[in-house]
Symmetry: C2
């Protein structure tokens, strides 16, 4: 075992824009996720040795890749000169609404922190991961990065100043994800949103946000389900995902507590209270997509509670 | 002691529209509140014998008073023929944004329930109290009635169907109230609100609502304070209360965690973490109003945890 010369880290996929918690609520899952291997070298360079599973779409230039930027910024900030070689294993589709770039960013900063033994807090690591998102998305969003790094459900209460709030996450909560083989541009998803919304609609949304948060903190799955209603983003974006409503309906019919668009899509997530239900829900969602001629992958796991981990 | 022939009940004042929780969040206080005395009679009539402290403004006609309507509806619903005489002690100003009519409605239904020994749940009593609000306001609002009846902080998650959610309320949280001698018509307060709001403003509001709820459930007073920002109703309504911003500022300067308009005003509330601070905050708010020539009363108490109570 290489011990202090190399490290392997897993960082989870994340669901942002959790129904009524549009732009503020996200959570992490145990599957899928990215893996990174970080190795010390005798040079003073940061090198991306290889990226697996991206179909050649991601750049190997460390100054423009979401996995390496956080590593470079971290070393700069703490004044450390150390050559490093990065190997990245993408275990999830890009641009799918599953927080792929966030997982790579978090994997990068978490790996370098643990490899060098600085053991910074998640609050200290977060800004570096956000720098990775800045490269990937053109904006330093926290809505995937924060749940990826913190684990569990996370609230981005405010950006100015940035405040991330951990939300107690029920045990025994499972997530089914389906990634349909259609493309939704983040830009189109953004443009589909209304600029203004009726006050009454906004009140409905924040009543549900409050209900969802109370439900999570009380492990009240019924309240969580009743609160998972998005009257703002979902009606605006559903049309970008063919078959969205029938897929959602199939998830609820198969026992989901609630379901919605993951991030800005096209993936769809559903929550449930058992692994058995979660598997059935994933099958039902894939079948609903198949019925209208759309292929998909599915992922099933418990909601992630710990964020990134060093692999054995 | 009259025992089963009469009962005396206290029902608390309430703060609705708790900053960012506009239209969905409210809480009860231990002071002020209404008191009712309900006595059995040998007739089959419901009579309001007297109302004290209202300056003669409230009707004694039991079919049109917010205290008696819930009593009448309760007896009807459970098929009980029992003459009752009501005496109401208003210990708070009317139309002040402190939930005066809600306190009377809740006092009425709670008193008849306990006097007759039916001991219904708060969920069962709520609709009767809302009937009282219907008479008083022309709409069956729950935002004062629910916290008054349940105690503590309460979320009105949804009206259709009605769902009230209890929010764990920190111990040792105090409320200072100031009621300035100016009038704000509920209609004007309603008309001051924007019909539509920018999506970004709505997201800011629901991020804060979620933060406030998490703060309450974790007894995290810092988070509560940072989340108590209303970017929707307060900017629209502040102009209806002369000196609002200087009064709010004086509360924060005196140590308040946060402050805002109570209900639709003109009363202003401030939360704090000690009785000593709460008293200083009340004095500071009254002084700020006095500085611009406006008289006021103040009330200081711990946040109420139990709702209405039978008095010894």
């Amino acid at each position: 075992m290489a011990g202090s010369d190399s490290i392997r880290v897993f960082a989870p996929a994340t669901v942002a824009n959790v129904t009524c918690g549009f732009d503020v609520l996200g959570f992490a899952v145990n599957n899928p996720g990215d893996e990174i291997v970080l190795r010390k070298t005798n040079t003073d360079k940061i090198v991306i040795k290889a990226i697996h599973g991206d179909g050649g779409r991601l750049t190997l230039d460390p100054n423009f890749n979401t996995v390496s930027i956080p590593v470079i910024k971290y070393l700069e900030k703490y004044g450390i000169k150390q050559g490093l070689e990065i190997e990245l294993f993408k275990h999830m589709p890009l641009g799918s609404g599953l927080g792929s770039s966030a997982a790579s960013s978090v994997a990068g900063v978490f790996a370098v922190d643990k490899l060098l033994g600085l053991n910074k807090t998640v609050e200290e690591m977060l800004p570096f991961a956000m720098e990775g998102e800045l490269i990937a998305c053109g904006a330093a969003h926290a809505d995937n990065v924060a749940p990826c790094l913190y684990g569990g459900f996370v609230l981005v209460r405010s950006y100015n100043p940035l405040e991330i709030v951990r939300i107690n996450t029920p045990k025994g909560m499972y997530c089914s994800l389906v990634h349909p083989h259609v493309e939704v541009q983040t830009k189109d998803a953004r443009n589909a949103l209304p600029k203004e919304i009726p006050l009454g609609t906004a009140v409905t949304q924040w009543g549900n946000v409050a209900g969802l948060v109370v439900g999570l903190m009380k492990s009240d799955f019924g309240l969580i389900g009743r609160s998972m209603q998005d009257v703002v983003a979902e009606p605006a974006r559903a049309g970008l995902i063919p078959g969205f409503y029938s897929v959602k309906e199939s998830a609820l019919h198969a026992g989901a507590i609630g379901a919605g668009i993951s991030g800005s899509g096209p993936s769809i997530f559903a929550l449930s209270d058992s692994l058995d239900k979660a598997n059935k829900i994933a099958e039902a969602m894939a079948a609903a997509f198949k019925k209208i001629g759309i292929g998909s992958e599915t992922y099933v796991s418990e909601v992630n509670h710990q964020g990134p981990v060093v692999m054995g």
